[in-house]
Symmetry: C2
Subunit: 349 residues, 2 copies
């Protein structure tokens, strides 16, 4: 029931998803009276979906603390199904803060994970890049960053299908001495871990879109700012392009002639291709579809969830975590960031 054009967009997205994943079984949660006739109109979706009634829906602007009290909301009923082991994961286009809070509190973190993180995929000159944390944890310590690297590695293997993803730690320079104690300690821990072979070292902001590494690890504050800054820069450029093409007869003509080529560019940076941020590190998979996503975008978020389920994301995370140096010594050394005051429901946009 969440997102700008729910539930229609969700159902249209499921119709597309059903084509790609005919053996999936989807538990569709929401207002039965509204959903049943819509589902009936979509033959493929109807074949893979079973309906579960939830009388309430969490509004997009509701605070997570309030959302936690709506026990009959569609998002809550879906999350409860994950916590109960009935469903492997949940895909929602609803309230991000509420979804993250419900994920953490109801589904709960994997026992080995201190902090779940929000991971997303973006475009680069050399293919797709996974980046985390995009805003679930505002303040992070070195151990958190190392856990994010483990989760990002598993994500790149399962969702992007990369056999040996390279991992970079976001910093203000690539030399070993750059940055604060926290990133330097995290780098040291990664070099001593089972991920050492995949750890590229520090990367900088421009390395994200250059595709220097497959996985970019950072804290939720920096990651959220970097994601939105990059999106903003692309948006500026697209706006300027539209403006100059429209500014003269020659511009308009040139645009018309080059249009098939420019459509390739549009397809490459199409945000629908990158829809589906994942709250990773939980006892179940929680995927956030953009609230403004259309059916193609929502279907992509379902793809992401299916990839993680079929390629056993969580098992891979747990295997790699076992290779880390013991956490007690690590946490004892870290004093820069305060892990207590973090993670207060960040909107991805």
């Amino acid at each position: 029931m969440g997102g700008d054009n729910a539930p229609d967009v969700v159902l249209d997205g499921l119709e597309l998803a059903a084509e790609r994943h005919p053996k999936a079984r989807i538990l569709l949660v929401g207002d039965e009276a509204r959903l049943a006739p819509l589902l009936e109109q979509r033959k493929r979706a109807a074949r893979i979906c079973s309906l579960r009634h939830a009388p309430d829906a969490i509004p997009g602007d509701m605070k997570p603390t309030a959302a936690l009290r709506l026990r009959n909301a569609s998002m809550r009923v879906a999350i409860d199904a994950v916590a109960a082991g009935e469903a492997s994961g949940v895909v929602s286009a609803g309230n991000t803060g509420a979804l993250m809070a419900l994920g953490k509190i109801v589904v709960k973190a994997l026992p080995e994970i201190d902090r779940p993180a929000l991971a997303a995929i973006g475009p680069s000159a050399r293919g797709d890049v996974v980046m985390l944390d995009m805003g679930a944890n505002i303040v992070c310590n070195a151990r958190n960053l190392v856990e994010f690297a483990v989760m990002g590695d598993a994500f790149a293997r399962t969702v992007l299908g990369l056999p040996e993803p390279s991992i970079g730690l976001l910093n203000v320079g690539s030399e070993e001495l750059k940055g604060d104690d926290r990133v330097r300690q995290a780098a040291e821990m990664l070099r001593e871990s089972g991920l050492a072979g995949n750890f590229h070292g520090f990367v900088e902001g421009h390395d994200i879109t250059a595709g220097t590494v497959d996985v970019v690890v950072t804290d939720g504050f920096t990651g959220n700012v970097a994601l939105k800054t990059g999106e903003g820069a692309l948006k500026l450029m697209i706006g300027l392009l539209k403006q100059v093409f429209a500014s003269s007869a020659r511009g308009k003509l040139g645009y018309l002639i080059a249009k098939p080529a420019l459509d390739q560019l549009r397809a490459f940076i199409d945000p629908r291709r990158y829809n589906g941020a994942v709250l990773i590190g939980l006892n179940g998979l929680v995927v956030k579809s953009h609230g403004g996503a259309d059916a193609v975008g929502f279907a992509h978020a379902v793809d992401v969830a299916m990839d993680m389920v079929t390629h056993r994301l969580n098992e891979r995370i747990r295997e790699k975590l076992a290779t880390l140096p013991p956490p007690r010594s690590a946490t004892a050394e870290i004093g820069v960031a305060d892990p207590g005051s973090a993670g207060s429901g960040v909107e991805l946009r």
Copy 2:
């Protein structure tokens, strides 16, 4: 003597600058035997420049600590002239880390300023935007952020010529409760300061290029990552555009026809227009020209310095600082970030 094509580019840049600032007096510091004949060939530059010999030059890859020991390096002799009050400011295309270290140690911070910051100008959909800190201070507290806001305000008034610049504090959301203690405290302090009328509140990454505010304030870690991520995204887009225009005959033809329009776009995002990062908050003006800048870019960095001198940047900073709530109570309340371990020579690139 610093930068990729020194000293020729510097002298060509001064020739352009001399046209715009015929009444400026420039102290040109470097190897006299090399500079004198080059200066003779440039009539306009020769009229405003006087030469001062410095036998050494700081290599681009020298660590700041080593650079501090080269007392006869051109950068050092120029910085000494600023510290001695002989020059109002210095413009260098040389080693960023060395320039920042020399600025802080030799020119020294204004007595009211705890931490000088690196400010830069970038493009947005609604005009130029000032952003700071771009990497001089990796770890910042709330008071530092407030001082950055004061310096950014003065910078926007003097360099961009805005009578009432709006100021935004970079965060992961625009609501008052978002972010960590540090940004929330800084916002509170700004609302109680003489800048309250210009303080817009929190802004997000996409607001930078949207031009939501004229001044974006953040810590040096986030600012450095945001700057490079934004640059990287623009670079990705430019690379993709080139690729699709070259990919087919229609693309090539469309490009040729639209070229005059596309040249406007190129001019708008021309990095030379944004050359000249400023180490702001010192007893003199320190401007860093990009090492790869050409003569047009270097001349722009000289413009930035001239604007700050003629519009009395530092006096404006000191006036506004006097309106802040007393610093002792402020610093006492802040415990999240450790101000001790910061500022270890970040390369802007």
